[in-house]
């Protein structure tokens, strides 16, 4: 649980080909620990990434350095997991 507590999901809005290129490079780095839910394909489609807590600052720095805008769409994935788990326990009891 410690591994995922504090994980966030970023929605990244690539605005140029250079942004897309930078995000593709980032995805190729499998050691980054980032979980790409959608991928850098075009400026029309946002890129969603689950970001482990330990990688938050590194990713934010990367995005700021490359002037790539982003928003946080899930603030703490763990909270959703806890809610889902509780719901499943309730359902199992029923």
């Amino acid at each position: 649980e410690e591994l995922i507590n504090g994980d966030k999901v970023f929605r990244i809005h690539a605005e140029s080909e250079s942004h897309i290129h930078a995000l593709k490079e980032l995805e190729r780095d499998v050691d980054s620990g980032l979980d790409f839910w959608t991928h850098a394909v075009s400026t029309e489609q946002p890129v969603d990434i689950r970001v482990p807590h330990s990688r938050l600052y590194a990713l934010k720095d990367f995005l700021k350095k490359n002037n790539i805008p982003f928003t946080v769409i899930i603030n703490n994935v763990q909270e959703l997991l806890v809610r889902e788990r509780e719901e499943m326990v309730r359902n199992a009891e029923v």
């Binding site: 649980e1 499998v30 050691d31 959608t38 997991l81 788990r85 499943m88």
Partner: protein, 314 residues
């Protein structure tokens, strides 16, 4: 749960419960449904397909699978609901299911990646809830699993797949290296008379057709686009959920080794991939109270496509 009418469709269930549900459903509709064991997974779990048939040998058939990506729980849950809906509609003579089943068989696979699905339920380490691949050993002892939707023999090792076992999109060492993919491919090829292939995934609300490996238009692109557009309208009619329609390559990403391309290349013209309701706000953790509404809207699209396939033999 001993009766399907008491089954809670508005809940996510583990593999054992889903498999028990399948047995119950078969027992309740033994004149229509049979459970086909198509082989075992890497970790030796059985792989089951529900076959809906009113008789006949190797009739034209429709394939629907869900759960190829383990964390996409809404696809499994939707398929459970669909199985019950098809059975109930047939029993109650609700159009168009009886007429479709009078001409064609439907094969429905609720859990296409059982090992991965079990892994997503593993606790106490909840990190695994977001596991995508299967669980086979790879050349890297630290990184298990192959992305089953990059492992098909369809321009394998092309764009949109990784050769790194640690990547989420790891394609595997060679085409159909994964027993889960091989089992499904064997069933479809040995049958030889599938007319439609549909696979259910989740995230982004898309209805897609070939190709994934290339930006070129498929030969049947115009017809597939029309069918998918009409199906997405049928889906939209229930809750207003908006789907984008297009080729995999153009509306989501380049993806080689994908199941839909594999099916299309083998002559199964009506091949589609769904990305079910999930805008990202909940990631792959769509609240369970949205399962039934998601399943119902998906059913409207599937029903349209199945009827179309039935009306357009080739």
């Amino acid at each position: 749960e001993r009766q399907t009418k008491s089954f809670n469709f508005a809940a996510y269930h583990d593999l054992e419960t889903i498999y028990n549900f399948m047995d119950t459903l078969v027992a309740s509709h033994s004149n229509l449904i049979s459970k086909v064991n198509i082989g075992s997974t890497y970790e030796d779990r059985p792989m089951y397909v529900l076959k809906f048939s009113t008789g006949g040998e190797k009739r034209p058939a429709i394939w629907i699978d869900a759960g190829m990506h383990a964390r996409e729980w809404i696809s499994h849950a939707t398929a459970v609901w669909l199985a019950d809906r098809i059975a109930t509609d047939f029993k109650e003579n609700r159009a168009p299911v009886p007429s479709i089943l009078s001409k064609m068989d439907i094969y429905l696979m609720i859990v296409a990646n059982p090992d991965g699905y079990v892994f997503t339920h593993r606790s106490p380490n909840e990190f695994y809830r977001l596991w995508r691949k299967n669980r086979s050993a790879t050349s890297n002892p630290k990184c298990n699993g192959v992305d089953l939707n990059r492992n098909w023999d369809a321009e394998f090792s092309g764009p949109g797949a990784s050769d790194d076992p640690c990547a989420e999109h790891y394609r595997g060492p060679f085409a159909q290296s994964e027993i889960e993919v091989q089992n499904i491919a064997d069933l479809i090829m040995n049958h030889g008379n599938f007319k439609s292939f549909m696979t259910l995934h989740s995230y982004k609300q898309l209805l897609m057709y070939p190709y994934g490996y290339s930006g070129n238009d498929a030969p049947d692109r115009t017809e597939l686009h029309d069918v998918a557009t009409q199906a997405s309208r049928a889906l939209n009619s229930w809750h207003g959920t908006i789907y984008k329609v297009g080729s995999i390559f153009h509306i989501i990403e380049p993806a080689s080794g994908a199941s839909v391309d594999w099916a299309y290349q083998r002559g199964i013209k009506y091949s589609f991939a769904f990305e079910l309701r999930d805008t990202g706000e909940y990631g792959f953790l769509l609240p369970a109270d949205q399962i039934v509404s998601t399943a119902r809207e998906t059913w409207y699209a599937l029903r349209y496509i199945m009827q179309y396939v039935c009306d357009h033999p080739y």
